[in-house]
């Protein structure tokens, strides 16, 4: 096309440029002069970002301006249910990452045990069941005074007791009765429950250390308290239990057998003395 001649006789031209983010210089073409420059606006763009745990910088692409930055909404977070392990470990955790409004919470009600006091008895008791959170003190009451009557009355604090049943008839000498006193008993009493006619001469007896205030006839001598025994022999009969009154019986192979140590006692009538099978025997040892 023919260009209009401008000043200096040069043809004129029009130029169009697009603005950027840096300086641009518009120069005429060779041999021409610029009549008009049309500047188009700098291109713009919109960018979208999502929140993260790190700082973000939103920058436009090269040669562009940001017209807008769209920030997506934060995802909503959620708490998982609270768990309590068998070892008592409480775990509270975020189940889903995201925004948690102030005051967001989860709760778990533990099974509780209120304050209580347990009094010892002959039966086993559960003071606090497994898996319970105590909301008050759990106390074990003192042993009722009636329970310690033997120790109180006799002045012995080292006490052992038990019971046993033999599977076969056993001679007295062959059945040591174990105790855990750790010393020679000062008092040992053996009880036999209902011989049921199984034995004419069944076992029962007591051993007393003469340190206790029970005088025995004669002067006890001998090792292992063999002659410091008091025995009651009894047999079933229509008239009931017959026995000698508690007295001092001189030890001999046919009347009384006693042998004591710091861990066991043998006691009973030797010769005819047997522990019956199937009969329950009880004993108490004190020192």
């Amino acid at each position: 096309m023919f260009s209009k001649l401008g000043g200096g006789g040069k043809p004129e031209e029009e130029k169009t440029v697009t603005a950027g983010t840096s300086t641009k210089v518009v120069t005429p073409s060779d041999g021409k002069t610029i009549k008009k420059v049309t500047v188009n606006p700098t291109p713009s763009q919109s960018k979208t970002v999502s929140p993260s745990t790190s700082q973000q910088t939103v920058s436009p692409d090269a040669g562009k301006l940001l017209s807008q930055v769209i920030v997506n909404a934060m995802a909503s977070g959620a708490l998982s249910d609270i768990t309590v392990s068998s070892a008592g470990l409480i775990t509270a955790q975020v189940g889903t990452s995201g925004y948690l409004a102030s005051g967001t919470k989860k709760t778990k009600q533990l099974t509780t045990q209120a304050a209580k006091t347990v009094t010892p008895s002959e039966s086993e008791q559960t003071a606090v069941a497994s898996g319970r959170y105590t909301t008050g003190a759990i106390k074990i009451a003192a042993i009722p005074s009636t329970y310690v009557k033997i120790a109180n009355i006799l002045g012995y604090t080292n006490i052992d007791y038990g019971e046993f049943t033999l599977s076969s008839r056993v001679k007295v000498e062959s059945n040591p009765i174990s105790h855990n006193l750790g010393v020679i008993p000062k008092l040992f009493i053996l009880f036999s429950e209902s011989p049921n006619g199984k034995e004419k001469y069944d076992v029962a007896g007591a051993i007393l250390n003469t340190g206790w205030n029970l005088k025995t006839a004669g002067t006890p001598t001998g090792e292992n308290y063999e002659k410091i025994g008091i025995a009651m022999r009894y047999e079933n009969s229509d008239s009931g239990i017959w026995g000698m009154p508690l007295t001092w019986v001189q030890s001999s192979t046919s009347t009384m057998y006693t042998q004591v140590s710091d861990s066991s006692v043998k006691l009973g009538m030797s010769g005819n003395g047997y522990f019956s099978a199937g009969v329950k025997y009880r004993y108490i040892a004190c020192a």
């Binding site: 052992d160 007791y161 038990g162 019971e163 046993f164 049943t165 033999l166 599977s167 076969s168 008839r169 056993v170 059945n175 174990s178 855990n180 004419k200 205030n213 029970l214 005088k215 025995t216 006839a217 000698m244 009154p245 007295t247 001092w248 019986v249 001999s252 192979t253 046919s254 009347t255 861990s263 010769g271 005819n272 099978a277 199937g278």
Partner: protein, 124 residues
């Protein structure tokens, strides 16, 4: 604590104690009750056999009597009146007689009364 005492494969006894010696075996109350029920149903010993409670089977099994156990059996028979001393076989009679008739007699009532009087004089 509940226990059983086993010796040479035989359950000798079961029982209860505050603490048990190391040679005893701790068992549960249920096991103890079971063994006690087995003991309650023990078969009667015979002249030929004594029944012992096997630790392996937890049942009574017959064992041949030893000489001493045979003497015991005859002593029981004589004491219960099931047989007379003269009916005891010769091999066992002298032993049986010694146990049926102890060499040391029981104290007579007069002796007992004398001892009781002496004891009471001490003021206890």
């Amino acid at each position: 604590m509940f226990y059983k005492y086993v010796l040479d494969g035989i359950i000798v006894k079961v029982g209860t104690s505050i603490s048990i010696p190391t040679e005893f075996i701790e068992i549960t109350l249920e096991e103890k009750s079971h063994l006690e029920s087995v003991i309650d149903a023990k078969p009667a010993d015979t002249l030929e056999s004594v029944y012992r409670l096997s630790a392996k089977t937890e049942q009574y099994e017959p064992y041949q009597r030893t000489y001493e156990e045979t003497v015991v059996w005859y002593v029981e028979q004589v004491n219960s009146g099931e047989m007379t001393l003269d009916e005891v076989p010769d091999d066992y009679r002298s032993e049986v007689e010694a146990q049926v008739n102890p060499t040391e007699p029981d104290p007579e009532q007069a002796v007992v009364d004398s001892i009781m009087q002496e004891v009471s004089s001490y003021g206890y």
